[in-house]
Amino acid sequence: MQGEFIIKQISVFSENKPGRLAAIAEALEKSNVNIFAFSIAEANSFGVVRALVDKPDDARSVLEKLGFAVQFTDVIAVRMKDEPGGLHEVAQILGDAGINIEYAYAYSGREAAVLILRVSQAGEAILKIQAAGGSLLRESDLG
């Protein structure tokens, strides 16, 4: 039941130097993969490029063919109102539910803004968010 709300994020190890993001983006373009959201987390000389895409398996295989180290990471996505206070409302729900966020990023989707969360216990977090009145997205709801 909670499983349908777990979304596959693609995480790519990348050196922190000019041209790496372009290489990743070019590969995705060539295999006709659409990126819904992405973020970069960096430590001093390297980072992890994280993305939600429409075809995660295709994205992974094309990037691995190019030599990148790629992993899928489970994340969850919460709907937000795309207006002032939207983030506050969702953040309040998470706080009330006692959910600790490892990292998060957001995008403005067609129907609503979306907050993407990496949490340690995704299944438990889904239940708590639902109980606190939050609305979660399925992989098919992205975009």
Partner: protein, 429 residues
């Protein structure tokens, strides 16, 4: 000024006779070490086959890797009860090389240091600050006892806390300092930043890493001192094997204690004065650890003319290495040690690149290592933890802080034939 004028100026037949006598003694001493005993027996050689100094060419070479095989005490020619101290130096992989000293060896070593310090014009009136590592590194205790023997007031300041070092130089009216050239330059900068000066200081003795003439000029003018080059290696006691005199034109190698040859590192053929090659040393007075035709790996040449100071053979300042050994902040590092550490870490591949830079006059080593595709968890934390773990393991193996950078799998150059994994970007200064 001489400390041991007889030995320092011994020349011609007298010198050759002494060297031959001591060479024969060294061979018989070496025969007490199974490694040498077997090697000499295999060649059918004994001390009796050495009739003149040129006969040394009959003897096989000894390599640093041989010493490593003998870890820990395999090269000692005397019973353990006669060893009064050991030092260690980094080996080519994993284990260090252990060097041992008898009481007589320590006295002989101190005598050489006293010769060197007297040669550059120091006397018992001087105050000597020994700003090098005092542990297993030979530079600390080696210089310490030699300077004490000479009668100088010795300050065993060791390394670190540069402001305190500067304060001591001024408060104790230090006239002479021993440290690595890199650290001397660092002290110079801190002195300038503090807006102070070191008026009492007149002589600097610098060694344990290669330094250029440009660096000498810099140190001499900014500190108003005379700067002298010190050369040695743990396998031959430590520092003090060869040293500059006030002429600052080559280093006198102490011929009563060390028989030196220059060879072509590829063919092993002996080269003449003025020809550049690898320095090979046979110890002539070492009791605990006699070494025959030891391949130092250092590239230099024997200088042809006599030195006006009246002492004997000089070698040129070290021009490089015949192997891939690096000297980083005075510590010997072999790329194979790095490889050894990386091979033990499954999360990374065994491809690597080493970059050596000089930042604020201190050597910095950066190691690029490829992330293993299977070991990537997708999380940044895991990568940072891995980076810290690799740095710690390298520190354990090398006794050096390094910067580790994780790079993408397959991104480092692959080499066909001889790999060039080390890029030394240290310039003149």
């Amino acid at each position: 000024m001489f400390w041991n004028k007889e030995m320092e100026t011994l020349r011609g037949r007298d010198l050759e006779e002494l060297q031959l006598k001591r060479l024969k003694w060294t061979i018989s001493q070496a025969e007490k070490v199974p490694f040498f005993k077997d090697k000499l027996r295999a060649e059918g050689l004994s001390a009796d086959d050495i009739r003149n100094l040129d006969d040394i060419r009959k003897l096989p070479f000894t390599y640093k890797t041989d010493l490593r095989e003998g870890y820990p005490f395999g090269f000692f020619a005397v019973p353990k009860r006669d060893i009064v101290r050991i030092h260690t130096t980094s080996g080519t992989t994993g284990k260090p090389t252990v060097v041992g000293y008898t009481r007589h060896d320590l006295a002989a070593w101190a005598d050489l240091i006293a010769r060197n310090l007297t040669m550059v014009g120091l006397t018992p009136e001087d105050t000597f600050q020994n700003a090098v590592n005092y542990g297993l590194f030979t530079g600390g205790l080696g210089f310490h006892y030699g300077a004490e023997l000479m009668g100088m007031m010795v300050i065993p300041s060791a390394t670190g806390n540069t402001k305190r070092q500067i304060e001591m130089i001024n408060d104790f009216k230090v006239t002479s300092i021993h440290c690595t050239p890199g650290y001397a330059l660092h002290i110079t900068e801190v002195v300038e930043q503090m807006g102070t000066s070191l008026p009492s200081l007149r002589i600097g003795v610098f060694g344990a890493e290669a330094w250029s003439e440009t660096m000498r000029q810099e140190l001499e003018s900014r500190l108003s001192i005379n700067a002298y080059d010190s050369y040695g290696m743990s396998e031959m006691f430590g520092p003090g094997v060869a040293f500059e005199c006030p002429e600052q034109n080559g280093l006198h190698i102490w011929e009563d204690c060390f028989l030196s040859e220059i060879i072509d590192p590829k063919t092993g053929e002996t080269l003449g004065p003025g020809e550049k090659g690898e320095l090979v040393i046979t110890s002539l007075s070492k009791e605990a650890m006699p070494l025959l035709r030891y391949r130092t790996g250092d590239i230099t040449m024997i200088l042809e003319d006599d030195c006006p100071c009246g002492r004997g053979r000089r070698i040129a300042r070290i021009m490089g290495r015949s192997d891939d050994m690096l000297v980083i902040r005075g510590i010997n590092v072999f790329p194979s040690q790095i490889e050894h550490v990386l091979l033990g870490i499954p999360e990374v591949g065994d491809q690597y690149m080493v970059y050596v830079d000089r930042k604020n006059h201190l050597d910095e080593m950066t190691i690029d290592v490829e992330m293993n595709r299977q070991a990537f968890s997708g999380e940044l934390d895991g990568l940072v933890g891995l980076q810290v773990m690799i740095s710690r393991k390298l520190h354990d193996a090398l006794s050096l802080r390094t910067t580790v950078r994780l790079v993408e799998p397959g991104s480092l150059p692959r080499f066909e034939g001889k790999a060039k994994r080390v890029i030394d970007r240290r310039g003149d200064l």
